[in-house]
Amino acid sequence: MNPRLKIKMCGSNVKVFYAQKEILHGIHLDIPENRVTALIGPSGCGKSTFLRCLNRMNDTIEGARVTGQILLDEEDIYDPSVDVVELRSRVGMVFQKPNPFPKSIYENVAYGPRIHGLAKSRVDLDEIIEQSLLKAGLFHEVKDRLHDAGTSLSGGQQQRLCIARAIAVRPEVILMDEPCSALDPIATARIEELIDDLRRNYTITIVTHSMQQAARVSQFTAMFHMGNLVEVGTTKTIFTSPGEQRTQDYITGRFG
């Protein structure tokens, strides 16, 4: 990896257990700053599980246990002194299915800044909401209907609303778990375009089952298989001449 790249997050020997079963078998992975890192691999290989380690979402899963170390700017996010709510504002998440709250567009975005006390006044809050919607590429489509229900938007718009909601709390890292799998090609293209814009200011990690999407949006790609990290490298190398047979078989559609 380019030594000038700053490592924003770093996982070392990360293992995850559900009940007593080991699901991730000691993952070592660096996430470079202001880059998009794609996690690929067949269903059930542990991509989402690893992604959830990066903002301690696994804490919310009954019976889940994480060992090893994950650093955010050199600090261990599993340290007992870490405030998990604060961590999740620094490391935001966008899910597979757009999941706006059953509230207005405005309230969806306002929720985070309110609970984190990011706005001093109503004007301040309006500004944060406009900026977040702008960055998510949604503002111009919704500016006249900010008080309509978030769920009244199209699927693609809802996903961009969820991205705006994640951005509103000024995260440093954005995790996306198959953010386009419920969207049509045009809505997908808009999200991909957005991801490319966002990486200027954020570090992005995206789980995707679309090889083409990983090839289009990411600069680094990590290939998982059965709870192991098979290979990580520049996206260019992984998709033109990967080093590992399992990666080759997976990306060329020869698996199993």
Partner: protein, 239 residues
């Protein structure tokens, strides 16, 4: 060897492209072989036939291009599959050029019909074309079997072709010096030998493409060079 794709029809499409390349290779070799035969046996009828046959390779190249583009659009191939399809497009273009070389030799054969050189020249010419075509056949077969060692060996042997070319070049110059009425025929023969030398270069190109398809990287650029014709006629030839 690679295992099969989950989508079997993808394998069939790739097999089809591989088969087309093999056919193009056979045809290109056959045109070149017969074009030299037309010279050696002074057979202008054969030469005329060959000139018309070149179209078959042009068509085959187009068909491969169209099919390859369709596969890319349909399958969005990655890694070795992507390299293989791009390799197919490149190799078919090399083979089409080889066909052009054959056609050009055939045209010259028709023009110089009725002229003769010493018989030793024709045996050298036959040995020369046999060597170039052996290189071409070998690289195509090695590519079909993904045999990297054999592919690299083809590249290393290109120097032999260049050396033979230099020797034929000198021989033709000697004939021209001896008999100025022979200059036109010998000049055509000079271009024919140059064409055969170019076929060797196409075999080398194909070896490089094949290396890339199989490994994902190109071979090193340096390789032995035996073409010294640019030195022929210099006041003091560099040995």
């Amino acid at each position: 060897m690679l295992t099969q794709h989950t989508v079997r029809s993808f394998d069939r499409e790739l097999d089809y492209l591989a088969k087309k390349i093999a056919e193009m290779g056979d045809h290109a070799c056959s045109i070149v072989e017969r074009s030299v035969k037309a010279i050696v046996q002074d057979d202008y009828r054969l030469a005329d036939e060959l000139i018309a046959e070149d179209v078959i390779l042009d068509k085959a190249e187009r068909e491969i291009d169209e099919k390859a583009i369709l596969v890319i659009a349909r399958r969005q191939p990655m890694a070795v599959d992507l390299r293989e399809i791009i390799g197919t497009i490149r190799i078919s273009s090399d083979l089409e050029r080889v066909g052009d070389m054959g056609k050009n030799i055939a045209k010259r054969a028709a023009v110089i019909a009725g002229t003769r050189q010493p018989s030793s020249f024709y045996s050298s010419l036959e040995a020369f074309v046999a060597l170039a075509l052996r290189q071409l056949n070998e690289v195509l077969d090695a590519y079909a079997k993904h045999s990297l060692d054999r592919i690299n060996a083809v590249r290393e042997r290109d120097g032999t072709i260049d050396a033979m070319y230099t020797s034929l070049f000198r021989e033709l110059l000697t004939y021209m010096v001896k008999d100025s009425h022979n200059i036109t025929a010998c000049t055509h023969l000079l271009f024919c030998t140059k064409n055969i030398e170019r076929i060797g270069d196409h075999a080398t190109n194909i070896a490089e493409t094949a290396h890339y398809v199989i490994t994902g990287s190109y071979p090193l650029l340096e390789r032995p060079k035996g073409d010294h014709t640019y030195e022929v006629g210099m006041r003091k030839e560099v040995s």
